[in-house]
Subunit: 214 residues, 4 copies
C-alpha cells in the first residue's frame, strides 16, 4: 500500500544477483545525473543507458519503461524520507512537544539533504512522470506521523488540529522544496533548517496556548 504502484510500473526482475544490483544502481545514478546535467527534457532512456554504461536493451530488462524507472527512483527516495520522519517521531515520542517538532523537521530536511543532488533532480522529475500519486502517499504518511506527534495535545488543539497538521506539513514540505529549487541550496539549507524549526516551535506553541485565537 505504502507508495503504491500500478501494474505497469513494477520492476521486472528483482535484482538478486550482485551484478544485477550493481546494474540497477548504475541506472538509478545515471538517471539522477542526467536529470541534473541535462534537465528533465533531455532525460531519455538512451541517454540514461549510455551514462549508466549499459545498452538500452539492458535497461529494459530491469524496467518495463521510463515511467517505471522514474517511479522506482522517486519511490525509493520518498520511502526513505517517510521512514526517517516516522523513525524520528517514534524515537522522540516521550520528549516535549518542542523537541518532537524539531525532530520532525530535522528528520525531513536531513533526509532530503542526505543526497541533495538526488533531491533536486527528483523535484524536477515531475516534468517527466506523473508523481502525484507518490507525493500524495508521502504527504499522507507525514500527516499520520504529525498526528502521532501531537496526540497528547489533541484536547487543546482539538478545534483545528487537522488544519494545523495540514498546514504545518505543507510548509515543511513546500518550504523545503522551495529551497531545493533555489540557486544557493547548499548555503541556504542549514539556515533554513534552523528557521523552520524555530518557526514550528513558535507556531505549535502559539496554537497550544490559546487555540485559534492567536
Amino acid at each position: 500500500m505504502a507508495l503504491a504502484s500500478s501494474d505497469r510500473l513494477k520492476t521486472r526482475k528483482q535484482p538478486r544477483q550482485a551484478r544485477s544490483k550493481v546494474t540497477v544502481e548504475a541506472i538509478f545514478q545515471a538517471t539522477i545525473q542526467v536529470l541534473l546535467a541535462d534537465g528533465p527534457l533531455l532525460l531519455t532512456t538512451t541517454r540514461v543507458a549510455e551514462r549508466a554504461g549499459v545498452s538500452i536493451g539492458t535497461l529494459y530488462q530491469y524496467f518495463p519503461g521510463k515511467e517505471a524507472l522514474l517511479h522506482s527512483l522517486v519511490a525509493r527516495h520518498l520511502e526513505h524520507a517517510s521512514q526517517a520522519v516516522e523513525e524520528a517521531c517514534f524515537q522522540n515520542r516521550h520528549e516535549r512537544l518542542e523537541r518532537r517538532a524539531d525532530a520532525f523537521v530535522f528528520a525531513y530536511i536531513d533526509a532530503k539533504t542526505r543526497d541533495p543532488d538526488a533531491s533536486r533532480a527528483l523535484y524536477h522529475a515531475s516534468t517527466a512522470i506523473e508523481i502525484k500519486e507518490l507525493s500524495d502517499a508521502l504527504i499522507r504518511r507525514l500527516h499520520a506521523a504529525a498526528r502521532t506527534l501531537m496526540a497528547d495535545q489533541s484536547e487543546t488543539l482539538l478545534e483545528d488540529l487537522d488544519d494545523i497538521i495540514f498546514s504545518w506539513v505543507s510548509i515543511v514540505t513546500g518550504g523545503t522544496r522551495q529551497i531545493f529549487e533555489e540557486d544557493d541550496t547548499r548555503n541556504r539549507l542549514p539556515r533554513f533548517r534552523e528557521q523552520l524549526a524555530r518557526m514550528s516551535r513558535a507556531y505549535l506553541a502559539a496554537a497550544t496556548l490559546n487555540g485559534s485565537r492567536t
Copy 2:
C-alpha cells in the same frame, strides 16, 4: 516590461484587432485547461490549439513556440501576484508588524486564489525549465517586499534578518504551492490562509522578541 524575456520567448504579433484579442485569450485559457485536465506531459501545441478552437497555425502566429506561450502565461500570472503583495505592503506600511505580516500573506494567497485553476495549472507547468527565471524574479520581489515590511525591526533582527526573510518567503510560497497541488484545494485554502498568517505572526513575534534564541 519587468520580467525580461529572451528573444525566442517574445510573443509574435500584438493582437490589434478585437478578433485577435479573443484568440489570444482563448489560447491562454486553453493552455490552463489542458494543463489541468491532462497534465504538463500532455501539454502539446496541437492540444492547446484544439482546445482553444483555433488552428495550430493561428497559435504560431502569436507565439513562436510552446515555451513562449507558457512564458507569457506565467509572466502575466506572477506579475499580478508580485504587484498584489507590493501593493499590500505599501498600504499597510504604518500598521503593526502583525498586521503587516497578515497583509503580506493574505495578499499573496489571495492573488493566487483569484484564479485558482490558473494557479494550479501553472504550478504543474512550472518544472518546464525556462520558467525558473520568472519564478526567481517573483521571489526576489517578494524578498524585497518582505524586507520593506521589516524595515523597523532591523535592529532587533539584525543578526539573521536575511535568514528570516528568506525562510519566511520560502514557506509562504512553498506552502501555498503545496496546497494548490493537493486534491482538496478549494476546501483547504481558506483554512491554510488563516494558519499561515497565524504561523507568520508567531514566527515573527518570536524572532522579534529575542533574536535567534527562541
Copy 3:
C-alpha cells in the same frame, strides 16, 4: 510559345494602371532581394510581401501563387537574354564568323551582367520552383540563334554541326552560370567574357578548318 506558361502560372491582372506596375515591380525586386539576402529556403511569400511593402493579400492579387511569381520573374529574365542574343545575331549576320561568335557570347554574358544580382538570385531560384521548362526554352532559342549564326558554315561542319552548336551553347550557358555561382563574380566576369570569346573563336575556327579531325 516562347517561354510557355501553363495555366496556373499566368499572372492575374495585367498591370495596366501605373500603380499596379509599381506594385508588381516592387514585388519582383523584393523577390530578388530576399533570394540574395536570405537564400531560396527562406524565400516565402510573406517575406516577399513584407519586403515589397505590400500585404500578403495584395501579392496574391497580382500572382496566383508563389510558383507563378517566380515563373514570371524568371521568364522575364530569360526572355531578355534570349532577345539580346537573337538581336546580336541578327545585327552581325553579315560579319565574319569570328565576329559573329563574339557577338553571341558578349550578348549572352552582357544580358546576364545587366543585373548581376538578379542573375545570381535566379540561378538559385531552382530550389524554389521547377524552372526546367523555362531553361529549356531559353536553350532552344539559343540553339536556333547559333544555327543561324553558322548557316554559311554548314557544309564544312556538316558532319557534326549539331554537336558543335549544342556543345558550344552548353559551355556558354554552363560556364557563365558557373561564374555567377562563384564568390568573386564581379571581378571574374569581364575576364571570363574575354576568355569565353577567345575560346569560341578558337573552337569554331578549328571546327571550320578541318571538321572533326582537330
Copy 4:
C-alpha cells in the same frame, strides 16, 4: 577528412554491422532516386525513408538531418571526381599539353558519367545551399590540378594564366553540368565529351601560341 564538415552535418552512427551498411546504402540510393523522380522540391526525409524501405527513425539514426544526408552524398560524389582528375593529371604529366588537356576533360566527364543518375540527381540538389562549400572545394582542387597541368606553359601563358585556368575549369564543369540537366543526357554525353576535348585543345593551343592576342 578532406572536405571538412561542420558539426550538424556529421553522420551519426558509423555502420558497423553488415545490416547497417546495407541500410545506409539504401538511403543513399533512395535519395538519388527521389531527386531524379520528384525533384529537389519534393526531397523530404519521409519520402527518402519510404523509398529506401526503412522507417524514418532509421534514417535519423545515421544522419542528423536532411542536410547532412545530402552533404554526405555530395561529398562522396565530388571526392571521387576530384581524385579521378588528379589521378589523370598525374598519370599524363609527361605527355604533350594536348593529351594532358584531353586527360583532364575525359577524367572529369567520365567520373560524372560513372553513375549518371547520381550526377543528375546531385546537380538538381545542388542549390541546397550548404553544398556550396563542397562544390567550392571541388573547384579549388580542379584549379590546382589544372595549374599543375600547365606548369610547363607558364612562361608563354604567364600574362593571363590564371584567367585561362579559371575559365577553362568553368566551362568544363559548367558545360558538363548543362549536359546533365538536359533531357537527352545519355545520347549527348559522348558527343559533348569529344567536343569539349576538341575545344580545350583549340583553346589551349591558341592561348599557348600567342598569348592573349588570339
